[in-house]
Amino acid sequence: MTDTPLLQVRDLQKAFPVRGGLFNRPIATANVIDGVSFDVPRGQTLGLVGESGSGKTTIGKCVIRLIEPTSGQILFDGLDLMKLSGRELRERRTDMQMIYQAPGASLNSRMTVGQIVGEALWLHERLNGWAARDRVMKLLEVVGLKPEHYHRFPHEFSGGQQQRIGIARALAVRPQLLVLDEPTSALDVSVQAQVLNLLSDLQREFKLTFLFISHDLGVVRYLCDQVALLYLGKLVEIADVNRIFDEPKHPYTQALISAIPEPDPDEKRAIITLSGDLSRRRPTRGCPFAPRCQAAKLEICDTVEPPLIETGDGHRVACHLHTGAQA
């Protein structure tokens, strides 16, 4: 599969108005996402990693236009989603679905499983009655639920099962792209493993492309082909999963990886502890990460914002230490 990537995001930007003044008019904008570009090749998984507040979920929702981006290009299978009208967009929704972080909250508690999954079929294929029922049953089977679950309400299920219902609903419209927004972060470890395996199997079976949003590097390493790291709405590093974990270049990536608590008491690594926390107020100039950076800081870090630069093998990083600025 060397054709064009299924999803190409170019210079995505999302700004929220900051209101103020006597009449509460927008007086400024805050960029939550600032010029993010990446590709997701067909059938592969891109992991989008960052701390809470880094804008990763916003990117996920912008990609399938659940949120309107301020600017940028989103090419899905070569088609620019930004140019679609409301109706056209609604039709294209078939191709991309989202799986949510809180499995319970993403299901309408007033509807039965059958209705929830069935609604997707009705909306896209105007399928109802027995035909829909059969399809729903099949989908339930695919995600590992039983036929007798058809008539039950979401609250009667465990978190893992609820997430399966969500997956079944997403699969009902035969999508090509799934945006997975921390699909396992609300689940227990044992269940998380089940869901991760299910996703992995489904990807193979249905040739799905995943945009996997997570803050858990362990899971990302397990499921993703590429990883993109996000800091304050900007990409700081993006590369193959192995490269990221084997030779992380950006100090932020290094710190994140070192902070993963491995369940092994013997593994005594030096944990790089970042000072402070992700502050919503990014510095006005220079590298946004500079105030917390543990690496040897350069003068330029406080003045010039480092661009995202390819350092070989599709490994891109935004850090002055790696952009030849040392000199």
């Binding site: 209101r19 103020g20 003044g21 006597l22 009449f23 509460n24």
Partner: protein, 337 residues
């Protein structure tokens, strides 16, 4: 957004609200089929007399012109005249409004003083006997028609037990305090006239009590609910884990968060009470806005109806803003925008 900006904006926004309000009232009042002019002109008035009256009150103009004239006059401080009594609306309101305000404020104070502790007790003893008793009592009192309860109270406490006077703001022979606010109790206090204060207070208690029952239940319920919510917060568990005595947690930490919801409901209830005061005013012969409003409405006397509506509009808005302000003081997290 800045605190003072927020409130300034709220104050400015009262103006469009009042415009909308006056427009609504104006057109409701004017499309009514009634003939207030015929009524005011008297049973044997000739057409000429009625026409003269219409002309005098500008009722022969097209409606939009009348409205614009009205609003412009309003900004000049001219609230118009009653068609019926020919008295200035502003002068009448200046007399009637303080009476209602006094009654309503006292009632809301009663309701708060009774309702908040009741709600607290109810919440602390959740699902136990004190809880059940308070809840039933609150529901009990709010379920009576206020005018009926007023009659019964008048009978029991006024006529039978003779504890309170049965109506009016003051004895006929007592001179009301010289007006500062128009509220007798407050004015007599300000003028250090304690005899009159006691007397007017005596007149005030019964009607205010009856009026307060309407809000008692909601204040109790909201206090209880918000107390329960506050008691259920993680921070309470944390405070208990820190070894802070429960008494202190409830009266210091929990109460403040419970009060936030209660303040909002009190402001809403204030509006309701003010509008509902008419029934109590009728029974207790209390010369207030409610009586004025009903009399004017029954006569379709436009100008007083408009004036009353606008006064209510201003008061409601100010009370809401005040409540927001108090909530803002109580809750440092509130951002204005």
């Amino acid at each position: 957004m800045l605190f003072r900006y927020y409130f300034l904006r709220r104050l400015i926004l009262i103006i469009p609200l009042l415009l909308g309000l006056s427009l609504l009232t104006f057109f409701i009042a004017r499309v009514l089929p009634g003939d207030p002019v015929g009524l005011a002109a008297g049973p044997q008035a000739t057409q000429e007399i009625k026409e003269a009256l219409r002309r005098e009150f500008g009722l022969d103009q097209p409606l939009p012109v009348q409205y614009v004239t009205y609003v412009l006059d309003l900004f000049r401080g001219d609230w118009g005249q009653s068609l019926y009594s020919r008295r200035d609306v502003s002068a009448d309101i200046a007399v009637y409004f303080p009476a209602t305000l006094e009654l309503t404020i006292t009632a809301i104070v009663f309701a708060t003083l009774l309702g908040v502790p009741a709600g607290m007790i109810s919440a602390i003893y959740r699902s136990q006997l004190p809880d059940h008793i308070t809840r039933v009592l609150a529901l009990f009192f709010v379920s009576f028609p206020a005018f009926w309860l007023a009659m019964i109270f008048q009978l029991i406490f006024g006529l039978e037990l003779n504890w309170f006077p049965i109506g009016r703001r003051l004895n006929a022979l007592a001179t009301p305090p010289e007006a500062i606010t128009g509220m007798y109790t407050l004015d007599s206090l300000l003028r250090l006239d304690f005899g009159t204060f006691a007397l007017s207070l005596q007149h005030l208690i019964l009607p205010a009590l009856v009026l307060s029952f309407g809000s008692l239940a909601s204040i109790t319920r909201i206090t209880r609910a918000s107390m329960l919510e506050a008691l259920d917060k993680d921070s309470v568990r944390m405070e208990r884990a820190l070894g802070i005595p429960y008494r202190v947690i409830v009266t210091k930490y929990v109460l403040r968060s419970a009060l936030i919801a209660t303040v909002t409901i009190i402001s809403l209830e204030f509006g309701w009470l003010m509008a509902g005061a008419v029934l109590v005013e009728t029974i207790f012969d209390w010369p207030g806005m409610g009586l004025y409003a009903v009399e004017s409405s029954l006569r379709l006397d436009f100008q007083p109806i408009m004036g009353i509506t606008i006064v209510y509009g201003i008061v409601f808005s100010l009370i809401n803003i005040l409540a927001d302000f108090i909530v803002g003081v109580l809750d440092p997290r509130i951002r204005y925008g």
